[in-house]
């Protein structure tokens, strides 16, 4: 289980972000988690308009600022400097999370430490002593957003499967994940468990199964 880091297997991070973007319909309101999820914004397919919400108080987040146009008070949830598109709006934290909690955001794309076959998500704490627990808006997002996509490497850096029967890490939310986009495959969380939707080029279902610590149903 160590060959997962071979650059030749599966989607690159860019390809993966692009793959997620394909599944975001025109006109969607989308919240992107910190890190890999942020990249999804770069790949909106031609002809679509997608509105990005960043929970620190902006609807209509645009790309990073041009040199010289940076404003340290115009940032995203990852505290990186961004821009605001025409048609953007600023609001305070309670209004921002009203959008989340009140189910107004269509899709949220999050990173993950573990995802269970029941759709449980763990992405905020290892629970280890000495770990500084930091939750941010993750629990609000999984509780409030209609559709939760996870974008993640299929395994951890040390080769452990992230798709499991039961999460060992403290949960972010129970039965919340709808779909997983990993470097190896697109996988749906169904009432029957994980179901393969699509394989990355050159990857077989057995490649994925070997790296998944739960049952993986074939497409259909």
């Amino acid at each position: 289980m160590t060959d997962h880091n071979q650059p030749s297997l599966g989607w690159s991070r860019e390809e993966l972000a692009r793959r997620v973007a394909v599944d975001i319909p025109d006109g969607s309101y989308v919240n992107l988690g910190i890190g890999l999820p942020e990249r999804v914004a770069r790949f909106v397919p031609e002809g679509r308009e997608v509105i990005y919400h960043t929970e620190n108080g902006l609807l209509g987040m645009g790309p990073p600022p041009a040199k010289g146009q940076e404003d340290p008070e115009l940032i995203n949830a990852g505290k990186k400097m961004v821009t605001a598109i025409a048609g953007a709006s600023f609001f305070h934290q309670a209004d921002s999370f009203a959008m989340i909690r009140g189910q107004h955001i269509d899709i949220c794309v999050l990173g993950a430490m573990q995802i269970s076959e029941k759709g449980d998500l763990a992405n905020w704490s290892t629970g280890a002593p000495g770990d500084i627990p930091s939750v941010g808006g993750a629990m609000d997002l999984v509780a409030g957003v209609k559709t939760i996509y996870v974008i993640t490497q299929h395994c951890t850096k040390t080769g452990e499967p992230k798709l499991v029967e039961n999460c060992l890490y403290p949960l972010t939310g129970k039965s919340v994940v709808n779909r997983i986009y990993s470097d190896l495959a697109v996988i749906e969380v169904t009432p029957q468990g994980f179901r393969l939707v699509e394989l990355a080029p050159g990857v077989t279902i057995d490649d994925v199964r070997r790296r998944t610590a739960a049952k993986l149903l074939p497409p259909g």
Partner: protein, 236 residues
């Protein structure tokens, strides 16, 4: 006549007492009222409970207040930010308390505190360790956790423009927690980038109405936290 302008930062924070609960605006450095925090360091009040989304970075602003031993407890959602060293070290050695609250629940608790709502239900954190020991209730078939409003003795916030009545506007995502903290604190102390004539702020575009503001100090050229941190600056 109503004139909430205060002569100095020192005067604005003079009555913050030992043991006070202090809400401090900002999400990372955006909206952090760094000059007011430094005035609070000079003032020296201790045993504070501080409410902020994070715990500061480097050795200036909120991180410096914590490093100075003035904070007994942090209530926040994301203590582990990039560049955050002071809080993690104290936390690992059990020298500071932490109440970890999901960001949206934190925002809603502050808003509730300001709006006279003593408690509310939310689905956030249900089935997670952060709901442990809390009251659950099923409403229309879904499980929710009971959360209580949060109030403070003082709020320290930063805005872009103010008038003498205390009407405020903000700069972009620096708005974040400031409007709701202004509502939830007994005494709201504001540092503003500019003091405008009464009536200069469009009544349709006021974000924080003056009723929520008690004191205003003009800090026309506030320090930028990330720049201070990059320069390795410390306060005091």
């Amino acid at each position: 006549m109503i004139n909430k302008c205060t002569a100095s930062l020192a005067e604005a924070v003079a009555d913050i007492f030992d043991g006070a609960t202090v809400m401090i605006g900002g999400f990372g450095e955006a909206g952090s009222p760094i000059e007011l925090i430094h005035a609070l360091i000079d003032q020296g009040a201790k045993d504070l409970t501080v409410v902020n989304n994070n715990t500061g970075s480097g050795h200036v602003g909120l991180a410096a207040l914590i490093a100075n031993g003035q904070v007994r407890k942090m209530i926040c959602s994301y203590p582990r930010t990039t560049g955050s060293e002071v809080f993690p070290a104290l936390y690992r050695s059990n020298r500071i308390e932490l109440e970890l609250v999901p960001q949206g629940t934190l925002a809603e608790r502050i808003r509730a505190g300001g709006a006279g709502i003593p408690a509310f239900y939310t689905a956030t954190s249900v089935n997670t360790p952060l709901a442990e020991g809390k009251e659950l209730r099923t409403i229309s078939g879904r499980e929710y956790v009971l959360e209580f409003g949060l109030q403070a003795d003082f709020a320290l916030i930063k805005c872009a423009c103010a008038d003498r009545h205390g009407n405020l506007t903000y700069n972009k995502t620096a708005r974040n927690f400031a409007p709701i903290m202004a509502m939830a604190a007994q005494t709201t102390i504001v540092q503003t980038g500019a003091l405008l004539d009464l009536g200069a702020i469009d009544a349709e575009a006021v974000v924080t109405p003056g009723i929520f503001v008690d004191r205003i100090v003009t800090v026309s050229d506030p320090a930028q936290e990330s720049k201070l941190v990059a320069e390795g600056r410390r306060y005091p």
